[in-house]
């Protein structure tokens, strides 16, 4: 038995040469992705994952892990396997081209026309 400086260890009567069955797959359950909202009015943001046996416990663990310093007002959890994602390999789908300027505010320049028009009015 271990004689330890830690009274709890000694009381627990732990054998030093204890051996245990290795943990099997899913011993630590599956994972949930955790999203939190820092303040009311903010977007929820992904902050990490927790291992949990169900959504209810994922919320408890999520709050303990990511919200224990009062930095969250709300938490969402979703099973990792329920999240659909794009692939980084396909990131070219997010690329855009200069002739898509019509999507941007900067693609519209009216002052030239207005000034030209005003000049025209004056000279009449």
């Amino acid at each position: 038995m271990i004689i330890s400086l830690d009274p709890r260890v000694t009381r627990a009567a732990i054998e030093e040469e204890n051996t245990i069955e290795p943990l099997r797959a899913l011993d630590q359950w599956e994972t949930y992705e955790v999203f939190h909202q820092k303040r009311r009015g903010d977007q929820h943001m992904h902050v990490g994952i927790v291992h949990a046996p169900n959504a209810e416990m994922a919320l408890i663990f999520g709050k303990e892990q990511f919200g224990r310093r009062g930095l969250s007002v709300n938490i969402w959890v979703v099973k990792t396997r329920d999240v659909f994602t794009t692939e980084y390999d396909d990131s070219d789908i997010f690329e855009t081209v200069p002739d898509k300027q019509y999507r941007e505010a900067g693609g519209y320049k009216v002052m030239d026309k207005i000034n030209k028009f005003k000049k025209g009015l004056k000279s009449e």
């Binding site: 400086l5 830690d6 011993d27 892990q65 310093r69």
Partner: protein, 328 residues
């Protein structure tokens, strides 16, 4: 490394790149050189994945095992406020282990595999935690100086190339700043207290100095291997650089308190670097390979906790659970 060129198995740098697609490798290295992060599903060299898993996993184990010597003192911490603070710190450390295990998981090693490798002694953890915390002052020295060392290491690694590890470290560093303040506060209380308190903290400091000097590891051999790991931003600073940074930041603070360090050669030299007696690396190797005063106890306690909690975890599990590697 395509073609039929013979790779010398003793050439570590060549071996670590053997069989990698040169074009993908070039793109990968260019991404890192541009300061972009690597994300879990990106292509990465096998050696990059292997080294990161090893490093992040060991870091996670250190947090878990590090909570043991400190946890020893929760019930005996002097006063209610210190008990609460120490409990909060120990909870943080275990939380850090979970963040780190998650980051390592994104690279393809499950948490069960990591825990199995810890409790069978296959994986290592920080060597300092194989030493006991004899007195309350030991717990204070750990909280101040071991956490200070950890912060130097973590701040450096937080600028590394692997996204999930950096994100975990950013969160960890924020919390560690409380640990450092808390530890410093405790040491200052003892060092500015009664002669008995000063004696207690001086004895703890003297005991912990050799493990603290070991903390950053032996001098790095300047090999091609290290060079590649630094190019890939897996390793961000050499062990000696981190040790120098630690000495520079903390020796003056220790001396400020009128405490002494058990190394007559410790001083800042003309070039602004710290001279010190070379730590006993044989002792370091002996302890890391199982010969320290607490190695057996730490792992036995860990195995015991896994075993006694198993029925709860199993009772909660449901048949439809299915594991998938976490996203980020």
């Amino acid at each position: 490394m395509y073609g039929n060129a013979y790779i010398d198995p003793n050439d570590k740098a060549a071996m670590m790149l053997a069989g990698e697609d040169p074009q993908k490798l070039a793109e990968f290295e260019a991404r890192i050189a541009r300061g972009e992060k690597i994300e879990p599903k990106d292509w990465m060299p096998k050696e990059y994945r292997k080294q990161l898993i090893r490093m992040i996993e060991q870091h996670g184990h250190s947090e878990i095992i590090g909570a043991l010597p400190e946890g020893t003192w929760i019930t005996r911490a002097p006063g209610f406020k210190r008990k609460l603070a120490l409990m909060a710190k120990v909870q943080d450390e275990v939380g850090h282990a979970q963040l780190l295990y998650s980051a390592a998981e994104t690279l393809g090693k499950s948490r069960e595999e990591m825990i199995n490798d810890l409790i069978t002694g296959k994986s290592k953890y920080s060597n300092v935690f194989n030493y006991p915390a004899y007195t309350w002052a030991d717990a204070c020295i750990i909280a101040w100086l071991i956490d200070a060392g950890a912060i130097i290491n973590q701040v450096a690694n937080a600028k590394g190339s692997y996204g999930p590890y950096c994100r975990a470290l950013d969160r960890i560093c924020t919390e560690e700043s409380f640990h450092l303040k808390y530890g410093h506060d405790n040491v200052v209380t003892l060092a500015t207290g009664t002669p008995k308190q000063r004696e207690l903290v001086q004895a703890a400091l003297t005991r912990w100095w050799p493990p603290i000097m070991h903390f950053f590891g032996p001098s790095d051999k300047i090999s091609n291997h290290t060079e590649i790991l630094m190019k890939w931003k897996v390793k961000m600073a050499t062990n000696d650089d981190m040790r120098q940074q630690f000495l520079n930041m903390y020796v003056p603070k220790i001396w400020d308190l009128g405490l002494t360090l058990p190394d007559p050669n410790l001083k800042k030299n003309a070039e602004g670097k710290w001279d010190y007696t070379e730590p006993d690396w044989d002792e370091f190797k002996r302890v890391i390979n199982g010969g320290g005063p607490c190695n057996a106890e730490r792992l036995a306690v860990r195995r015991n906790a896994e075993e006694r909690g198993r029925w709860v975890r199993e009772a909660l599990n449901t048949a439809e659970s299915k594991y998938m590697v976490p996203l980020a």
